[in-house]
């Protein structure tokens, strides 16, 4: 068998040469681009050209600090990398003048530094000590924000494709045993042991098998898979190759949602590069193993994240789930044995093969090993992507890493696992997170989206939001999901309109149980979770809507009553001048009042009031 030694040596040198120069690197994940990263890159190019500087300009993906995008990294040869946050084009000239020309970082804009072997700058937090990163580990995400995702040179120079090289010289069963030993469980939400899944497909007798990657990350509030695909596409390919070799497949599919155009572009590029290097195609590295990967772009159906619906969609059918058994391990894609894992699961595989299952199993809890990538969003100060060891508490994630709640407001709940997950209240913030503890709380690990909610979020409205989503996305194949979600949504709408009755809550609870027990696929079986958990932990809010006809968070429009707090109102008149219906009256410098008959609850007055004197609760 051929090995990659020669090419690796060449690429390591090339990579080191790049790192040995003065460098400016811009974060260009979807988030960085959305925040204006391309404009920053353009401004940097122009500034560097106009000054005639000899600087390497490169780009990378998302380092995870979405809250301070666009992110720019500057490193002088032999000095620490400094990562700057919130860099807009107007800041570029000063940044280059100071850091590149005068060799002095702009301390006030610096977020963190990564010293490597150099002596750190005084006055800038070192990454490992910075609150956002202190409790994180970086394994699957180790290349995110650090290497150029469109360069196979960077990937191979940082240990890439060592996993497949090693795997090709290992017995297939031994690879599966190593994955079992690692304790890796499916990162797409279900948490099924990956090694066991591979074993089923390995044991299935057939002339054709498939390895499929589920990149149909549809949960609102989740972007882990997008970040991995955009930031380290080769790692997913390598994981799939190892899986393909171990189970005896020669073909793989990545089913990626069409809403991720950049991920699809980078995957296509990575596949082309791997083919050029003889890492995909026939007789890989002269080992006799052949493997090809194709990308299928989704067409906008959330249910296709369900494994059997996904297989139907690849086959060109309506993406409706199949009845199981038979399971995909026996009859999957085109009725052939198929291993189906999600992006993050595959991305973990090369690391496990390189460093061993024992290494991986050292991290995590008794039943959930390794690390998990989460996306923290919602009403939290530091939104972004993070990788943490299993077993960390939600409090650590939200308050240590996430920096607490925006605007100093009160934490109310965190929603884990998207439309299939649940809302976890403050009293459970200290639960160590793993697959089993979250399930015990009525939520699920899900793919890893965590949406933080504060006192201004209405939990009934949140339940309605999720149900509206699943109701829209229900494929209609089975009655409990098709009809049940509709009935539950109608009840929630009634409650939010102030027309609910207490019996509705019992009906909701009963419907939750029935749908959970009788729906055909994961989408239906888990869609009651947001309702069941909010009913369990926030029942008083439902009751306030029903009995008092009041929305405590002041969200549900029909129940809003706009009033002016007498003690806060200064009588400036700003609200009255802007009220479209003239519902606000009052003498100058005297507290104003709102005529609820005239008020149309449009909300115009609230942002106009500088004294927070208008409430809706």
């Amino acid at each position: 068998m051929k090995n990659l030694d020669q090419i690796r040596q060449k690429y390591v040198e090339q990579y080191r040469r790049k790192l040995g120069k003065d460098r400016i690197v811009v974060g260009l994940g979807t988030c960085g681009i959305a925040a204006g990263g391309n404009k920053v890159l353009q401004a940097i190019k122009e500034e560097v050209a106009s000054r005639g500087l000899d600087v390497e300009i490169d780009f990378t993906s998302c380092i995870g600090m979405c809250y301070c995008e666009p992110v720019v990294e500057i490193a002088l040869a032999g000095a620490p990398s400094v990562i700057y946050g919130n860099i807009i084009p107007d800041k570029v000239a000063k940044l280059i003048e100071s850091h590149i020309v005068n060799k002095t970082p702009v301390y006030e804009w610096a977020a963190i530094q990564i010293p490597g072997e150099a002596a750190p700058y005084e006055g800038i937090s070192v990454m490992e000590k910075f609150p956002y990163y202190e409790k994180q580990v970086r394994s699957v995400t180790s290349r995110l924000g650090r290497t150029n995702p469109e360069s196979i040179v960077d990937y191979i120079a940082t240990g890439g494709y060592e996993g497949i090289e090693k795997a090709l010289q290992t017995d297939k069963q031994a690879i599966i045993d190593e994955i079992k030993k690692s304790g890796l469980r499916g990162r797409g939400g279900g948490g099924f042991p990956t090694g066991t899944k591979w074993q089923f497909v390995y044991d299935a007798q057939d002339d054709k098998k498939y390895a499929v990657c589920n990149a149909d990350e549809g949960d609102p509030g989740a972007f882990m898979d997008r970040s991995v695909l955009e930031g380290d596409p080769h790692s997913v390919l390598e994981g799939m190759m190892i899986a393909g070799y171990a189970i005896g497949a020669d073909e793989g599919y990545i089913y990626c949602r069409a809403e991720y155009p950049l991920a699809i572009r980078r995957l296509n590029l990575a596949i082309a590069q791997a083919e050029e290097h003889g890492l995909l195609g026939d007789n890989i590295l002269d080992s006799g193993f052949s493997f090809r990967i194709k990308i299928k772009a989704g067409a906008g159906a959330f249910v296709c994240g369900e494994e059997t619906a996904l297989l139907n969609s690849i086959e060109g059918e309506r993406g409706m789930p199949r009845v199981r058994p038979p399971f995909p391990a026996n009859k999957g894609l085109w009725q052939k044995p198929t291993v189906l894992n999600n992006v993050e699961t595959y991305a973990n595989v090369p690391f496990i093969i390189r460093y061993g299952g024992d290494w991986y199993a050292k991290m995590g809890t008794e039943t959930s090993k390794g690390s998990k990538v989460f996306c923290l969003t919602g009403k939290v100060n530091n939104t972004g992507l993070m990788e943490v060891p299993m077993g960390i508490t939600l409090r650590d994630i939200i308050f240590s890493i996430g920096g607490g709640i925006q605007g100093g407001k009160e934490f109310k709940a965190v929603q884990s696992g998207g439309p299939s997950g649940g809302c976890i209240p403050a009293e459970h913030l200290d639960t160590p997170i793993d697959y089993d503890s979250l399930t015990a709380l009525g939520a699920i690990m899900g793919s890893g989206g965590l949406v933080v909610m504060d006192e201004t979020t209405c939990m009934v409205d949140v339940a309605k939001f999720f149900l509206n989503f699943t109701q829209n996305e229900s494929c209609g194949k089975c009655t409990p999901c098709r009809e049940g979600t509709k009935r539950m949504l109608e009840i929630l709408q009634r409650i939010c309109e102030g027309e609910g009755e207490l019996e509705d809550l019992d009906t909701l609870e009963r419907l939750c149980k029935v749908i959970k027990n009788s729906a055909l696929c994961g989408l239906g079986q888990t869609c009651p979770n947001p309702i069941a958990t909010t009913l369990k932990y926030f029942r008083s809010e439902y009751e306030a809507h029903i009995i008092d006809k009041r929305c405590p968070a002041g969200v549900c429009t029909a129940l809003k009553v706009y009033t002016i707090l007498e003690d806060k109102c200064t009588g400036c008149g700003a609200c009255a001048r802007n009220c479209p219906t003239g519902a606000i009256t009052g003498a100058k410098k005297e507290p104003h009042v709102i005529d609820t008959e005239k008020c149309i609850k449009c909300g115009t007055c609230i942002p106009k009031c500088k004294f927070d004197a208008i409430t809706t609760a």
Binding site: T30, A34, P220, E259, A297, A299, A301, C375, K379
Partner: protein, 162 residues
Amino acid sequence: MSSCTCGGQVEAKKEAALQKLFDRYRDYKGGLIPILQEAQNIYGYLPKDVLRRIAKELRIPLSKVYGVCTFYAQFHLKPRGRNIVRVCLGTACHVRGGSKILEAAKEHLGIDNGETTEDLKYTLETVACIGACGLSSCMMVNDDTHGRLVPEQVGKILDSYE
């Protein structure tokens, strides 16, 4: 009024592209969805005649083609605007006021969610998450993602598209 004469050429070009597409996917397993996606790229939507052609070329019933394209949100049976505006109403955007962004877009374009402006310049849609939650509220115009939006910015962003 002079009448436009390029129509025939444009149609012929589209027809050629469609034919190429069939040749490429004829022996491709599970080709229906990629064909629909690319046909939609050619025509901007999926006209009835094109669906008929696809059914004939792939030797499958028209009902099946119709069934697949009505199942997926991405396929459109009516003409669409040159610029597709997708306001995100995912969880993170929901709790950070995504609906106000939608309101601003509706007002600016004078159309409702799911509609196309008369000049075929814009189509307004909502999406249940574009995965840029760290920058919520956000919206996509074509392939560009705009993040950290407040309603006041929406008009200016939309006007920047031709």
